[in-house]
């Protein structure tokens, strides 16, 4: 890498570079992992869409997609996307790239643990992909793996070895994420340079702080649940499996008062904070990029910190909104409904703060058209669109109809799939000069943005209509005997065409990424005139004494001086700053 140089290794062994503990190398490694995962996950979803639009057509080399094949696609698509794209990319890729620099540190606190975290996560991905190749193939229990389906191998194809691979992968992922989270927490607590008080940290760092706290709390619970499920499958225990079950005409287990609801509670205690783990870093990146391009504070700084923390902490007490129809106590449903609606408040505050930042923001010529800014605006757009359907689903009365319909699919794909992914695109375009010293092509970026935006809305908005019409999730085929849903078939085809458009638009991004890595326009040292410390000259970090005396974001008045040498000299005090041209 040109800008953020890796210290030269003292040995010539290539292994030392591959197993490096330097956070920039680990960031790239996580980035490669997330790219592989998103390509795999998107391909799986395109197979799903192909089948839904033309249920009777056959895939070349595979043949007919049977219902169990479809369910395997659903399961693996969900698992890969939620864990290996939407957790790895926001939480691990960008934090490893810029977090130490953003707090004025030279390296992470526990670099070896950080590297361990990556390799365990990579192993988890390998084990998960292996599920496709074990006898009977990938599991069919959904990414939520509800028992008894997930606890009994006889319930379906792929629920044998495939399900074991899934559980092993999730267990490894929990361990890897915990390693990364511990490293992040210790780094942010201890490695801040002089003057970098907690209230001077960039909002990205606050989001990673909150995310790491959430990860430390919830990933071990998923690990425990996965181990209990493994025990149910192989050691004859009854944590989640009730007695007297009849599977395929055979009475399976006599005794045991296991509770499938226990799995749901344990899983969703993890599962809901998981989506905040995905979205909080995306929000932090949005705040930072908005501040950069509008040359303003991203809303009141303390307010943004407070909302980040409250979204994170409130996210721990809303998990029951995934279980409104599970048969749990309706009073519990009421409590969870209240907390879920409450969490809409800090989220709305953030959105309004961003809109306030945009209003009358300093728009240097062309700033609006810069690709990172476009994708950030896309994030806000998707967050609003997906977020508005949240309070609808938060009400048990409405959720009893909408649960497990395409309405829910539309909701979370807009707010998790598209919003977080757009924020990841924004981060890629934004920090690309930091990684390579070059800019990605603006023209290709524009094509990528507009095609993706239109494609994504074309795919996911109609799903709300389908859901309101009652179309349920996870069904491989709704045409045929059910005439009511047969009328939705044109909608399914339209969604599929748009999905292929959306997928094709990502090829533009991949081409842009690969091409610009070595042949992009050479960027100046701080192409976006950013104010956060990762853009500081490397010599600044090489000095032993590093001190910060100002907050990271440019304020309204000072925006006028944003490009002047005087302001720059405040942020990067002489003599570390090279003389202004």
């Amino acid at each position: 890498m040109k800008r953020a140089a890796i210290p030269p290794s003292t040995t010539r062994f290539a292994l030392r570079r591959i197993f490096s503990t330097h956070h920039h190398v680990i960031a790239l490694q996580y980035g490669v992992l997330a790219l592989l995962a998103v390509i795999t996950g998107t391909t799986l979803s395109l197979f799903m869409r192909f089948h839904l639009a033309w249920p009777n057509l056959q895939l070349p080399f595979w043949g007919m997609i049977r219902p169990e094949d479809y369910l395997a696609l659903v399961t693996m698509h969900g698992t890969i996307m939620v864990f290996f794209v939407l957790t790895v990319a926001p939480v691990s890729v960008w934090s490893n790239l810029v977090l130490p620099e953003q707090i004025g540190a030279r390296q992470m606190s526990l670099p070896w643990l950080n590297a361990c975290g990556f390799w365990i996560t990579a192993a988890a991905f390998a084990v998960l992909v292996a599920a496709f190749f074990v006898p009977q193939g990938a599991p069919i229990g959904g990414w939520t793996a509800y028992p008894p389906l997930s606890a009994i191998a006889a319930t379906g194809p792929g629920q044998g070895a495939g399900m074991d691979c899934w559980i092993a992968s999730i267990g490894l992922f929990c361990l890897g994420s915990s390693c990364g989270a511990i490293n992040m927490l210790v780094t942010i607590t201890r490695e801040r340079c002089k003057g970098m008080t907690l209230l001077r940290m960039p909002l990205t760092v606050w989001s990673w702080y909150t995310t790491a706290i959430l990860s430390t709390i919830v990933f071990p619970v998923l690990l425990a649940a996965a181990l209990l499920l493994l025990s149910d499958r192989h050691f004859g225990t009854h944590y989640f499996v009730p007695g007297g079950l009849i599977v395929a005409g055979k009475l399976l287990r006599q005794g045991g008062d296991g509770s499938p609801l226990l799995w749901q509670h344990l899983f969703w205690f993890f599962g809901h904070p998981e989506v905040y783990i995905a979205v909080l870093p995306a929000m932090g990146i949005t705040s930072s990029i908005l501040a950069n391009f509008t040359r303003r504070q991203p809303g009141s700084y303390k307010l943004m910190v407070a909302t980040t923390l409250s979204i994170g902490l409130l996210g721990l007490i809303v998990w029951g909104h995934h279980m409104f129809v599970s048969g749990m106590n309706p009073y519990a449903g009421m409590a969870f409904s209240l907390t879920t609606i409450a969490i809409a408040l800090p989220s709305t505050v953030k959105v309004l703060a961003w809109l306030r930042t945009l209003w009358n923001g300093q728009t240097n010529r062309g700033a609006w058209r810069a690709t990172p800014m476009l994708f950030t605006l896309g994030f806000i757009s998707f967050f609003i669109a997906g977020g508005l359907t949240g309070p609808i689903l938060a009400q048990p009365m409405l959720d009893s109809y909408l649960h497990n319909t395409y309405f829910v699919l539309g909701h979370f794909h807009l707010i998790m799939g598209m919003a977080v992914v757009f924020s990841m695109f924004a981060a890629t375009y934004y920090w690309f000069p930091l990684m390579t010293g070059r800019l990605m092509s603006e023209r290709l970026g524009q094509w990528h943005f507009w095609l993706s935006l239109i494609g994504a809305y074309a795919v996911f908005l109609p799903m709300h209509l389908a859901g309101l019409a009652g179309l349920p999730r996870h069904y491989a085929q709704m045409s045929g005997p059910t005439t009511h849903f047969g009328a939705l078939q044109p909608l399914q085809r339209e969604i599929t065409y748009s999905a292929f458009l959306l997928g094709a638009a990502q090829l533009i991004f991949l081409w842009n990424l690969v091409r610009s890595w070595d042949h992009g326009i050479v960027a100046k040292s701080d192409p976006w005139n950013a104010t956060t410390l990762e853009w500081a000259p490397p010599e600044w970090f090489a000095e032993n004494h590093r001190e910060v005396s100002v907050a990271p974001y440019v304020d309204g008045d000072r925006a006028v001086n944003a490009n002047s040498a005087q302001w720059k000299s405040e942020q990067f005090p002489a003599p570390h700053r090279p003389p202004a041209e």
């Binding site: 511990i182 201890r190 425990a224 008062d257 296991g258």
Partner: protein, 252 residues
Amino acid sequence: MPATFTPAPVEVEKKHTGTGGRPPVDRRPTGGGGDGDNWQNREPGKRGPREVLHRYRLGLFFGLAGDLMFFVALVSAFFVRQTAGHFDAREQWINDWRPVLIPPILWLNTLVLLLSSLTIEAARRRLFHEPDVLEEWLGLGRPAARRAMPWVIATLALGSAFLVGQVMAWQQLSQQGAYFGSNPSSHFFYLLTITHAAHLLVGIVALLAAAVGLVVTRKVEVRQILLDTSAWYWHAMGALWIFLFILLVFFQ
């Protein structure tokens, strides 16, 4: 009283605690350290001799917090199972939780584990005894490590005795007919104690590494970090055992 023991008024005003076994409390910039030194907020690299130790202690703390959540999940499964049941063919609510009687050896094991916490704390404090540490740092032998080693070995012995005692407890239970799969209460007894024993085994491995490190490593800081983190992990496992023990004895 001699003047030595009666602080003069100017001394009292200065709020000096003197050298009665404690470092002087300096609330006024007195010069040494220079330039408005902010002892509480030094930058990384200048935070004193225990900077790296504090980093690892903090990492251990967050790791233990995650581990605690792991046990929270298991204990919540415990409580759910305790009250779970079903309706049988005669519409009667059947709850099959029969509290299992704790093998009496568990009380002895608890005592042994508490003693081991005391011994590892004794070892830890000996490794941080400043005069000995200074000698080690100067290269004049290893008095601190030499004094700590017997206590580490005592902890290893007591920890192993605890694990042996746990195995005996499991054997006693299975002799009474309470197996892993027989009754939910016995099942959870085994689950919680086996999980705790597995964590304690990790602690024993860490202590072994610390003991080997006392002999093999070259930097006194590394020895202190190894033993300190192992000791705090050991204390955490002791506290966790107390919690699990109270759960199994009083909350079945």
